[in-house]
């Protein structure tokens, strides 16, 4: 019976092809626009590490200015000072801990005639790779001893390894980085989380790092650091003075396996801040926070305003398209009054007719959904070209989104079809038959 209804629906769609294609086009445009913006929002706010996001915590301490609270007192400073980050690292009170900052430098090619390579990367602790599930192609992370002994070791991204070593296993080889000899200990597989949650202070959707080196090399000035730096208290000249200053520039993460550990770590942080007060630091009331990945992304509003605004607009756009569909379906079904009257007279029950016309609406919805997916694909392509690198990798349809698009198209058209169908089924057969 069901397949018979579909057959009738298709015949009917074909017969009124003008009206039908107008409806399909309207739904497709609505679905296309909605899917484009929903996809961008969905990928921007996606949980970058679903199985672990509730175990990774961003640590913030309020070591800020007593006169001018950071962020108007709503939240503690977004990054950490060198003193606090290294103290917390040494205390080792969490299951794993990582401090990191953006770094950059120049890699000199083995062949002096080749152009040197300017690279952006990160300086972090050895725990970083295990905490954030970073995939390795060759080799492994450096160990904690390398951190402590400030060894000149380096982990390369797949792309950097391709450029420098033609993609072969370069573990154990050396390269000249910042005029010093570094040993390659590992090469990563493709790794480009969006948002780049472990450090959003310099742009959550920036390009992935080219290299990773031990954080301790920054204090040695063996690599140069960059990224956001905020200071409130004056300090003397020289790098030593900068390290000892109240400037914040480090992202500090801990991995805590359960709620007990979280509470214990919070107690530890508060005790630490109180202890620092004895040295004349932490002049503000104690406000130390542990925030997990998803909460932190939400708090920092990683999803851009533009993207949210467009999503709201595209949903209204979809509503216009559906209103259009309701109107056109109404027109179409009422136009079929004589046929409906005839069928009723021949014994078709109202529920049979209702089911049949709902199926017809559903067919139109499915067709609109399919065409809408094509539009969404084109829409995402143009979003990617228009926004450039900012949207790279954010403008792709995944399986979830395709399913969502089809369900959205089907459900919304069926809802749009309910009223016209109901109207059509209320037709009095006698009156229709009379005038034939």
């Amino acid at each position: 019976m069901f397949s018979y209804y579909i057959k009738i629906a298709l015949i009917s769609i074909k017969r009124n092809w003008g009206l039908s294609s107008l409806m399909i086009l309207a739904i497709a445009l609505g679905i296309g626009a909605t899917m484009t913006t929903v996809t961008v929002n969905y990928l921007m706010s996606a949980d970058p590490i679903p199985h672990k996001s509730d175990q990774l915590y961003y640590v913030r301490l309020d070591s800020w200015d007593p006169n001018n609270p950071y962020n108007e007192g709503i939240s503690p400073p977004a990054q950490m000072t060198y003193i606090d980050a290294t103290n917390l690292l040494k205390a080792k009170k969490a299951y794993r801990q990582n401090l990191s900052s953006q770094a950059f430098g120049v890699i000199e090619p083995p062949n002096p005639d080749d152009l040197p390579l300017f690279v952006f990367g990160r300086a972090n602790s050895s725990d970083f790779f295990a905490m954030f599930d970073v995939p390795f192609l060759f080799g492994s992370p450096w160990d904690e001893n390398s951190d402590l002994s400030k060894e000149q070791v380096i982990v390369l991204s797949k792309q950097t390894n391709d450029r420098l070593f033609g993609g072969e296993n370069s573990v154990g080889k050396t390269l000249r980085f910042e005029s010093k000899v570094f040993k390659v200990v590992g090469v990563l597989d493709h790794y480009d989380p969006k948002p780049r949650y472990f450090d959003i202070s310099t742009g959550a959707f920036d390009d992935p790092a080219d290299f990773y080196v031990p954080f301790s090399l920054i204090a040695e000035q063996a690599v140069r650091r960059s990224g956001n730096t905020n200071c409130w208290k004056t300090f003397g000249d020289g790098f030593e003075a900068f390290l000892a200053s109240e400037c914040i520039w480090i992202a500090f993460w801990v991995e805590l396996q359960n709620q007990d550990q979280v509470e214990a770590y919070q107690t530890f942080l508060d005790a630490y801040a109180n202890e620092q007060k004895n040295f004349g630091r932490f002049p503000r009331p104690i406000d130390n926070r542990l925030t997990n990945v998803t909460d932190y992304m939400e708090e920092r509003e990683v999803v851009a305003d533009d993207a949210r605004m467009m999503m709201a607009m595209s949903f209204m756009f979809l509503v216009v398209c559906l209103l259009n569909t309701v109107g056109l379906l109404l027109a179409k079904f009422i136009g079929k009054a004589p046929e409906i009257g005839l069928r009723q007279a021949l014994g078709a029950s109202r529920s049979t007719l209702f089911l049949q016309y709902i199926i017809e609406s559903g067919c139109i919805g499915l067709a609109g959904g399919l065409l809408g997916l094509l539009f969404a694909y084109l829409g995402l392509q143009s979003v990617e070209t228009l926004y450039g690198s900012y949207m790279q990798g954010l403008a792709t349809l995944d399986f979830n989104m395709v399913v969502f698009a089809m369900v959205l198209a089907l459900v919304s058209t069926v809802i749009a079809g309910i009223y016209p169908t109901w109207r059509a089924c209320r037709i009095q057969p006698a009156r229709q038959l009379k005038c034939q």
Partner: protein, 404 residues
């Protein structure tokens, strides 16, 4: 117009169809007006001048990696050679470039001390060629002299004793009379005094979204840094040619460094506003598609209702109605539906704007724009209904005599 009552009564017999069109028009108006408003808002932001001679300037980053490198000597040689190059007007070293999104900001206060209110400003470190190379206008006071210029190491925190500020910054510091800022001493980094020796008309900060984008300060410092920017102004029309020449000359003259990110100020502007441009294009597409969908909806429903009424129309024609009267009927009908639609739509537009203002911190919409939107949608409605109405008017009076 006696027909109005008649058309209204006829419309009431098919309320839902008319209401659907009216609602579509209403939503279209609400979205369209707000989208246009956002486009205008972005256009205003994008049209602000940076203060630079944008069409004849470019910059590059000079990154040194060699060890035991004499940064001071190298910079002096580079700048001297660049300034003497044929086709180049002037060249400087600078720490940041307007609209490039990367830079240095500080607070300036009228009094020294930890808890004094300060005004945020972008800092540009230049030498006495700064004003000429950037192409900004000095409107009060004077430029730096060669004696003012001091070296600043990468980790230094001392500021030079002189500064030139933009008019916007002078106004923020001295709201009563910006011109009085010349000669005054302000404090940077809480307690370091700096004398304002000049005021430039306009120079934007590196961050286009910052509310203080017009507030900038020039200080007479030259960075002793392994990574610094050179900013170059060429003779009119020779920029692209000189870009290639300068890059080649600099990279070949010294193998201990990398010349990278050679970029024009015009491209920097485009990149800076890339999201704005993209959003505007998307909003424009939304407006056009939306209007088209609504128009097609009107056409579709009009054709449908005309098909249903073929016999009625024929009868009217047979009874003496002119073609124009038939057309007029449908145009007036559409006008009435549109009137309901735009009334709801105008309220909707204000409501949507209210929500946008609260959620995304944008400005409230102007009433003018809503009025233009209303007029535009009336025109769209009339244009959309014109073709079906024309078809209706061509229905032959003989139709009245036929059965079904």
């Amino acid at each position: 117009m006696l027909e109005i009552g008649l058309i209204f009564r006829a419309l009431m017999r098919n309320k839902i169809g008319a209401l659907l069109i009216a609602l579509q028009i209403a939503l279209t108006l609400a979205i369209m007006v707000n989208a246009i408003f956002m486009i205008q808002d972005r256009n205003v932001q994008m049209s602000r001048p940076s203060g630079l001679d944008e069409s004849n300037t470019f910059y590059l980053t000079n990154t040194v990696f060699g060890e035991n490198y004499n940064l001071q000597a190298a910079l002096q040689t580079d700048l001297q050679k660049l300034r003497n190059m044929d086709g180049i007007d002037n060249a400087i070293q600078i720490n940041a470039v307007p609209l490039s999104d990367g830079g240095w900001s500080m607070g300036l206060a009228r009094e020294p001390g930890e808890d004094k209110n300060s005004v945020g400003t972008a800092i540009y470190m230049v030498d006495e060629h700064g004003i000429d190379t950037l192409g900004v206008n000095l409107i009060a006071g004077q430029n730096f002299t060669q004696q003012d210029i001091a070296w600043r190491g990468a980790q230094d925190t001392k500021w030079p004793p002189k500064a030139i500020v933009t008019k916007a910054l002078a106004t923020s510091l001295f709201p009563d009379d910006w011109q009085s800022a010349v000669g005054k001493t302000v404090f940077i980094s809480k307690d370091q005094p700096m004398q304002i020796i000049g005021i430039v008309e306009q120079l934007q900060a590196p961050w286009n979204g910052w509310s203080g984008v017009e507030r900038s300060t020039l200080v007479p410092s030259q960075l002793e840094s392994k990574s610094a920017k050179y900013f170059i102004r060429t003779e009119a029309g020779r920029r692209d040619e000189m870009m290639a020449a300068v890059e080649k000359f600099l990279s070949e003259s010294d193998k201990q460094r990398i010349i990278r990110q050679v970029m024009t100020v015009e491209d920097t502007r485009k990149q800076s506003y890339q999201q704005h441009i993209a959003t505007n294009k998307i909003l424009t597409t939304v407006i056009i598609t939306l209007t088209m969908i609504t128009a097609f909806g009107i056409v579709g429903l009009a054709i449908f209702s005309i098909n249903r009424r073929t016999k009625q129309i024929g009868t009217r024609r047979a009874l003496g109605a002119t073609q124009w009267q038939i057309m007029r009927y449908f145009m007036v009908e559409n006008f009435m539906i549109s009137a309901v639609g735009v009334t709801i739509g105008a309220i909707g537009a204000i409501a949507l704007n209210y929500w946008l203002v609260n959620t995304f911190q944008i400005d409230p919409i102007s009433i003018d724009l809503i009025i233009y939107g209303v007029i535009a949608l009336f025109i769209v409605g009339q244009l959309a209904v014109f073709y079906p109405a024309k078809r209706a008017s061509l229905i032959s009076p003989a139709t009245a005599t036929r059965t079904t």
